[in-house]
Amino acid sequence: MADIARSFNDLNFLDHLSTGNSFLHRLDPRVKLLTVMGFIFAVVSFPRYEISSLLPFFFFPAVMIPLANIPVRYLMRKYLFLLPFAVLIGIFNPIFDREPFAFIGPLAVSGGMISFLSILIRFTLTILAAFILVAVTGFNGICLALKRFKVPEVFCVQLMMLYRYIFVLSSEAVKMARARELRSFGRKGQGIKPYVSLIGHLLLRTWDRARRVHTAMLSRGFHGKFYMRRPLALKASDVIFCLAWLFLFIVFRLYDIPAVIGEILTGAVA
């Protein structure tokens, strides 16, 4: 129960963040989408045993999170909530890949440990990037960007409708689940029978609601398209933002910067 309410609140909060008014929020949604996709693409393009080259990519969240005024504690909580999943998908590497790969002093590190660490880093980076994207763009911004990238109108309209009604139907679902909880004792009453009639009724109500919404939209002249108050227009700052980050990602991808720094710091020249 606490779970349901929490994931609903999470959604609300993330949506609320996207209404901020920082420099990043004002950027064109298209460049933000492109930048984040470029980031993820660069991060996952490293081979399996890469760790040090991945680290410079932390500059992206480190710069974006404070600039966008995203509360770090909130992000950390969301991240920690997802971390067990990352461990689960990576934990097989140390089990199956036991060959010694590197030595830290007398300590041999297996290839599996290295790739496990690499997976955790990838996971952290890609998840942060996705949250940053939503927090500074908002869902409608992303839909508009998709539309301008020639994603079919049907799909975009549908996405926007879906998002709009998530809030309505989720709060209804939260209420229903709470009502069921209050009427059941322990596990009793939480089984499949009441569940089915709960979901079934929710579905029938949703269907009716959808029809009413649809009729209301039609009677106000809807014919399958959404119009924007302001059309998107690229500004110089948008282009610079995108190109600067993409350039950095390419540099990070091509050069192992931590290794270079490490060689300078330890005085070891390979």
Partner: protein, 341 residues
């Protein structure tokens, strides 16, 4: 079953993005033609329903764990395959963005695994064949159960193939399959039972809902050709991306393509691949890089890590330094931006 970005290579992610984007385009066209564009809001609200329904759990008898509706199959039953595919895709988009449930680059994979199989395989080829036009609780139960199980088994197998092709995990194929398939057998049974129960409930309460999409089921022949084209495009794209990014496990990929498409398409794919590779050489985006990688690979077949062994200590020092720098930059910006932006 949602795949994360961490286990995916750009080659696989990009190829599956292309495939899923193609399917979304095709389904959008179909929905526009068949279902009447103005019904699109209905689809959106149904997607929101799936979301809301996933928030409510039930306890599974005798196991102590709880389950919820996955939703792919029920959407296909209520909306027909094309609309259902679009709705599932958009649910996955929202899940990826707001809950990090599945990665953004992995979105193509997830849409394919969780959308294509229920909407275009399980529903038309299994559920539809069993239930036909004469719905009854028994038929709905058998149809949903079989369709959900097979849909999820295919999806789970898709996850296995896509993950192994990406080459980030060390999990051997047999172990991975032995892990994934039985788990998803259980999930499939639960999903099938719940879907059947909800569909029967709706059918009793308001049977006309189930007739909405009667005219929009795809014919299997079109469907087979569609699959072949999609796989061909996937093969070509995968090939192109692989030569570009020099994935360290091309053999796994070839194995998968061969298994999925058979010999003929494979040869075709190679021709396209060659053409793509040439195109890329001409318009090389990262020429230095691809050169370096292929040289390194040629010099030490199978071992791309050796040169690093000696410098691992300086790598750790440098990495630590880089991280600290990133955190410092973050704090500095945080202080500065506290009031100003």
């Amino acid at each position: 079953m949602h795949m994360a970005d961490a286990l995916i290579s750009p080659a696989v992610g990009g190829a599956m993005w292309a495939v899923s984007a193609g399917l979304i385009g095709y389904c959008s066209k179909k929905v526009k033609e068949d279902l009447d564009e103005r019904k699109v809001p209905l689809m959106g609200v149904m997607g929101a329903f799936i979301f809301a329904a996933q928030m409510i759990n039930f306890t599974i008898p005798a196991t102590g764990s709880s389950g919820h509706l996955g939703g792919g199959l029920i959407l296909a039953i209520l909306l027909g395959p094309y609309a259902a595919f679009l709705v599932i895709s958009s649910v996955l988009v929202v899940q990826a963005l707001f809950f990090a449930d599945g990665g953004l680059l992995a979105l193509g994979c997830n849409i394919f695994n969780l959308g294509f199989f229920p909407a275009f395989v399980a529903y038309p080829l299994i559920y539809k064949k069993i239930v036909k036009d004469s719905a009854s609780p028994g038929r709905i139960l058998t149809g949903s159960l079989l369709a959900a199980i097979i849909g999820l088994q295919l999806g789970a197998f898709g996850v296995v193939l896509e993950t192994l092709c990406s080459g980030i995990t060390s999990l051997p194929f047999t172990t991975f399959v032995a892990l994934m398939q039985p788990i998803h057998l259980g999930i499939g049974i639960v999903e099938g039972l719940v879907t059947a129960a909800v569909v029967s409930f709706v059918w009793k309460a308001n049977p006309e809902i189930l007739d909405l999409k009667a005219s929009t089921a795809p014919s299997p022949i079109m469907h087979a050709r569609q699959v072949a084209i999609v796989l061909l495009v996937a093969a070509a794209f995968t090939g192109g991306f692989v030569s570009w990014f020099a994935s360290e496990h091309p053999d796994g990929l070839e194995w998968a393509i061969e298994k999925v498409t058979g010999k003929e398409e494979l040869e075709n794919a190679y021709n396209i691949q060659d053409a793509l590779a040439q195109l890329q050489e001409k318009s090389a985006f990262l020429p230095d890089y691809s050169l370096k990688v292929s040289e390194a690979a040629a010099a030490q077949p199978g071992q791309d890590q050796d040169p690093r062994l000696g410098t691992s200590v300086s790598g750790i020092v440098g990495g630590f330094f880089t991280l600290c720098l990133a955190v410092l930059v973050g704090f500095a910006l945080k202080k500065r931006s506290a009031g100003s932006w």
